[in-house]
């Protein structure tokens, strides 16, 4: 049986084998070979694809190159979503490696946020952490940290340093013993079959009478569609970090162990594969 700490490591070091192919309409001086890379589930596309950019720039003229962006089967990929979430949401039931198309033109302004530098990624990441702590601790823990502590969280992620990251992040995972858990759980449930990108609501991990809420309780409350009745065949999968946790799992435990580095539980609800 895995120790709880092992779970943290497994989550952090999760990887997705990916094949990057240049979009066929991009203007190249000679043919572009695909580029293969293992992507960290917990990081962000624009943070880990410098090598991809360098690879394709070798066959392109500078004037044909604008901001790089990615799509999967025609859907622009949002860099501000963690990589693992993008995969679970769009490609879980497809064959590996994950095939991503690379673009340098016609940036989809309406759909994607611009990412001109790493400081934008850092700002987004820190903003998520702040929001998560607003929910968990009324921002008390994050506000008590110094700037260098915030920096350590970011550098830990950027440089793939588990220990450096968790030395600081463990503070964000603490709670007063008498409370039994966080004030509210930072979560987002992502839907594929909806205009709405995600659902986010206030939800307590422990009820006022001390009952420990489970993943199933959360879904029943916030997105009951995801849970099928016993007599129906399962229509949806509820996926976190590429796995389907049991619906009986306590939400507080999930929040402490299966959150992304941004301290949010990113939950995908996807159609179950039909055989």
């Amino acid at each position: 049986m895995a120790d709880d700490k092992d779970v943290l490591r497994d989550v952090w070091f999760g990887r997705i084998p990916t094949c990057f192919t240049l979009y066929q309409d991009e203007i190249t001086e000679r043919e572009a070979e695909p580029f293969y890379l293992l992507l960290p589930r917990v990081s962000y596309l624009t943070l880990v694809t410098d090598k991809v950019k360098k690879h394709f720039l070798k066959v392109m003229k500078a004037e044909d190159v604008e901001e790089m962006w990615f799509d999967f089967e025609g859907t622009p990929l949002k860099w501000h979503y963690p990589i693992g979430l993008l995969f679970d949401l769009h490609a879980s039931n497809t064959a590996l490696p994950w095939s991503i198309t690379v673009h340098f033109k016609n940036f989809p302004e309406r759909d994607l946020l611009h990412c001109p530098s790493n400081s934008v990624i850092e700002a987004h990441f820190m903003s998520s952490i702040k929001e998560a702590d607003a929910l968990k601790h009324k921002s008390q823990v994050i506000n008590d940290m110094q700037k260098k502590d915030h920096k350590q969280l970011w550098m830990g992620l950027q440089n793939d340093k588990f220990d450096q990251f968790w030395a600081m992040n463990r503070k964000l995972m603490e709670y007063p013993t008498e409370e039994g858990g966080f004030r509210y759980i930072p979560f987002r449930i992502y839907l594929t079959m909806s205009d709405r990108p995600f659902i986010q609501k206030l939800f307590r991990p422990i009820s006022p009478d001390g009952y420990t809420h489970t993943l199933g309780d959360l879904l029943k409350e916030v997105y009951p569609v995801a849970i099928s009745n016993d007599d129906e065949s399962k229509r949806y999968q509820v996926v976190i970090h590429g796995i389907e946790p049991l619906l009986e799992t306590p939400l507080q435990w999930l929040s402490e162990h299966l959150s992304h580095p941004d301290n949010f539980l990113h939950i995908s609800v996807i159609p179950a594969p039909s055989d």
């Binding site: 302004e109 001109p116 400081s119 820190m126 903003s127 921002s139 700037k147 205009d195 995600f198 206030l202």
Partner: protein
């Protein structure tokens, strides 16, 4: 309201009252409901002025390098604690004043328990403005405020209900400016509509005007039993079967702006979005 935080139900009620006044002024606000949910947001489009790049063939893209320089202003990267080292680049050689189409959305943030202002801007030809152009369009009076307070700044974010790119004024400092206003209003037994007060602070920064009549004509929602006890003089309006139309001419502001008796009644017949989930009690009871 005795707290600087806003629960979702009160947000919706404040918005509905706000909306009634907007209709009377033809101020252009509408309520957009999310399909299959009780959630919604206020929306308005307006023409304004902004500073945009000229001679752009493509959509708002400058070179990566150019934008990189500008982005260093929003979030300090140096270790100097005193000065964030923010510099706002005004690209005067390449940009000019032009007519810009703005679209404003007021959403509720359950994480911060405040409203949040989302907006996007495009030229009349339909080209989306980039962040740099939006920064350049902020009135010089407000630029300093944005520069020196990183958490008040404008960033590009995903709209949580539509999934599209918008610009946002970060909400985590809302408490700071709302708290003293709400406290004073409580002490002086004045009514305050949270949305009106909040928007009058954040709106002008991004070119959104809030006519003065909002402050005198829009009441706060009636107090439900679950919210904190209110001083006796600000008793709730008697419920009516249909909303009364507000008086056609705005009342002159008085020294203590009590809403006049003919002001809009709480809209008991308009859709009140009940909370769909057993959420914790209205957070108006928590200490500020």
């Amino acid at each position: 309201m005795s707290s600087c935080f806003l629960d979702e139900e009160t947000f919706c009620q404040c918005c509905q009252l706000f909306l009634q006044h907007s209709h009377s002024l033809c101020d252009g606000w509408s309520w957009e409901q999310v399909k299959g949910s009780e959630e919604g947001y206020l929306r308005k489009t307006a023409l304004g002025t902004g500073r945009t790049r000229c001679n752009q063939d493509q959509q708002g893209t400058s070179s990566d390098q150019h934008q990189e320089r500008t982005f260093s202003l929003s979030f300090h990267n140096d270790d100097d604690d005193e000065d964030d080292g923010a510099v706002c680049c005004i690209q005067e050689e390449n940009s000019s004043s032009s007519v810009v189409q703005y679209e404003y959305h007021i959403l509720y943030s359950c994480s911060y328990q405040t409203p949040v202002l989302y907006f996007r801007a495009s030229t009349l030809e339909g080209r989306s403005l980039c962040l740099e152009e939006v920064w350049d369009s902020v009135h010089p009076n407000y630029r300093q405020r944005l520069q020196h307070r990183p958490w008040d700044t404008i960033t590009q974010q995903e709209h949580p209900l539509l999934g599209q790119s918008f610009f946002v004024l970060h909400p985590c400092r809302t408490e700071e400016f709302m708290k003293p206003v709400l406290k004073a209003a409580l002490e002086e037994h004045r009514q305050v509509n949270y949305i009106v007060t909040w928007l009058s602070v954040v709106g002008p920064v991004v070119g959104l005007d809030v006519p003065l009549s909002y402050c005198t004509q829009v009441p706060e929602p009636p107090h439900t039993p679950s919210s904190s006890p209110q001083p006796p003089s600000s008793s709730p309006q008697p419920p009516s079967s249909s909303p009364q139309p507000p008086s056609s001419s705005p009342q002159p502001p008085s020294s203590s702006p009590q809403p006049p008796s003919s002001s809009p009644q709480p809209p008991s017949s308009s859709p009140q979005p009940p909370s769909s989930s057993p959420q914790p009690p209205a957070l108006g009871t928590k200490p500020g």
